[in-house]
Symmetry: C2
Subunit: 348 residues, 2 copies
């Protein structure tokens, strides 16, 4: 198993990661306090750091997006969690778009990355974030002086050796990449600086090294350390551990009905080779990406679905058809809401 911010390889042992990274598993007390937040209830967000310390306070959520492509279902589900937190706790939400970083690491212009930022922002905001409690920032478009200054202050606390140790950057890489972690720390710490609020950051567990660096910087700047809530990977449609926007096997929000049907139809499942075997032996939901998406998107009683699958009473076609319908309906509604979004309303 290899899990870094830049690579996920092998079969992931989440409990081992929790231990290695010094995280805590979500306990019953915390789960009760997060009742109704679907991605927590489903066990998708399963670990955290210091969430128990801030949960009874007014806290902010920072959830950024590196815009180098359209966003896919996985991204949307992450931001749905943020939205559910905002609904439940009336949290202030800050969503920074690091088009500068994407420009630095990808083969695209700053202007292209900025265009993706605006497009992605529309998709994210279409989830229904509250205008008065939500702020976005696009690094190359409306960088705040306070954020830049915070990045500079962070950059004085981080030696190049530390950056290289945490992120593995090489001297052959550009200078900008080396500086970006300071901007990211500034994004995360901005609500603490500006509004004196503790911050919660929802992240994929592979991004945890970033959190550790930022927590260290926070401490050295005399700011409160941000908490995190960390999630498992959403598998790709071909059954790989982590859905990737650079692969063809993710479902993008812009996919039309036909594309969605084709992608789902072609997807890997935990089903048997033949209908007969499936009826006799039952499927393997634990390795099935369709089962996972079904849980997250269709929203029906997944314990029941799991039983049906294992017992052979349900075949892959059933799940796929239900998922297709739910996805198509969800995306149709999403697009309607998206059209009404004015990104500028959230650029404070």
């Amino acid at each position: 198993m290899k899990v870094t911010p830049y690579e996920v390889k092998g079969e992931v042992n989440y409990l081992k990661l929790v231990k290695e990274f010094g995280l805590s598993l979500m306990d019953e007390k915390l789960k009760r306090k997060l009742k109704g937040i679907r991605l927590v209830e489903l066990g998708f967000f399963f670990a955290h750091r210091d969430l128990d310390k801030i949960i009874d306070e007014d806290f902010a959520i920072v959830s950024g997006r590196g815009p180098s492509k359209e966003i896919h279902i996985g991204h949307l589900l992450l931001f749905r969690l943020v939205k559910e937190f905002q609904n439940k706790f009336n949290s202030y939400v800050f969503i920074p778009f690091s088009d500068d970083e994407k420009f630095l690491v990808k083969d695209l212009s700053l202007e292209e990355a900025r265009r993706y930022a605006f497009e992605n922002a529309k998709d994210i905001l279409a989830l229904g974030f509250k205008k008065k409690r939500t702020e976005i920032m696009i690094d190359s478009y409306d960088l705040k002086q306070d954020v830049y200054n915070l990045a500079i202050k962070a950059s004085k606390k981080l030696t190049m050796s530390t950056i290289k140790a945490i992120y593995g950057f090489k001297n052959e890489q550009n200078v900008g990449i080396h500086f970006y972690p300071c901007m990211q720390a500034a994004h995360i710490l901005y609500p603490t600086l500006k509004r004196d609020l503790p911050v919660l950051v929802p992240i994929g567990i592979d991004q945890d090294p970033h959190m550790r660096a930022t927590r260290d910087v926070a401490e050295r700047l005399g700011l409160r350390k941000p908490a995190s809530i960390e999630c498992k990977f959403l598998p790709s449609l071909s059954g790989e551990e982590k859905m990737s926007a650079s692969k063809e096997d993710a479902i993008f929000l812009s996919d039309d009905e036909e594309t969605i049907r084709k992608k789902i139809h072609d997807a890997f499942t935990g089903g048997r080779d033949t209908l007969e075997e499936q009826r006799k032996l039952g499927g393997k939901p634990e390795i099935c990406p369709i089962f996972k998406y079904h849980q997250l998107v269709v929203g029906s009683d997944f314990k029941l679905i799991e039983e049906e699958c294992r017992s052979g009473g349900r075949v892959c076609g059933d799940c796929k058809e239900e998922l297709c319908r739910a996805l198509i309906r969800m995306l149709k509604e999403h697009r309607k809401r998206r059209e009404k979004i004015k990104v500028e309303d959230f650029l404070v």
Copy 2:
């Protein structure tokens, strides 16, 4: 001899530096075009790169300031050159204050560096820059999005290896220092990007490596390479090669009459040990900082002064007294003009 942006040591051989750095000496044709610009006529600004290529066009001047202290006479003389250029060519002048960099390299807070930026700006603007043709920027106070974006673009063109080779930074130093050259390149290239003007940068010859890096970046960004006009060092009052703001032997704009008299009185000169010897052998103006300041500040016929000194007809006390009077008068007038400056008027 050692001349780097961070250290000047030994006796400086300027002709050797010109050759090493690939600069050109100011020729007669160029000197004619710069007639009336005192620091050029005195041979203080003596070398350049590509100035001949832009001198007949509309060009901008970028002259920054790293504000970690009060400014001294040497700084003021540099900006007087910029002012003379603006008078003669009606050039657009951009003065960026890199308080962020000073914060990163010095033991002071960002807020302290910013305070120096405002104070220094008052002193510089008191020289009488034209409001409509002059713009300042304080990095930690009103960083322009265009400048940040340009820095990010520059940072994609510079590998960490290149930065380390040019600036000699070590991994034990902070990340921010490594990124700053990108900001500096952005400062210099901003008028080219924003106003499509070629840029002239007046600098001390020890800062030439920065120019070479920026010219390289400009080319790679498809922007016109900036030209430079480069000056010799202004000696310190104790006779060292380069006046330094961190030493006690520079004259600061805030020095009172008594302090100036004492500093000048105590200054090293090219005079002989006794009055008798001076009358007999004459002084050595070529090693005399007082002679240099006399040239620059008093403004009388320096050929005559030099003759008088060499022939023994003039003693150090004469020069010192004339310099004191001129300095005190100059600073008195400067302070009057300074009081009327509103820095905000120049923050566009």
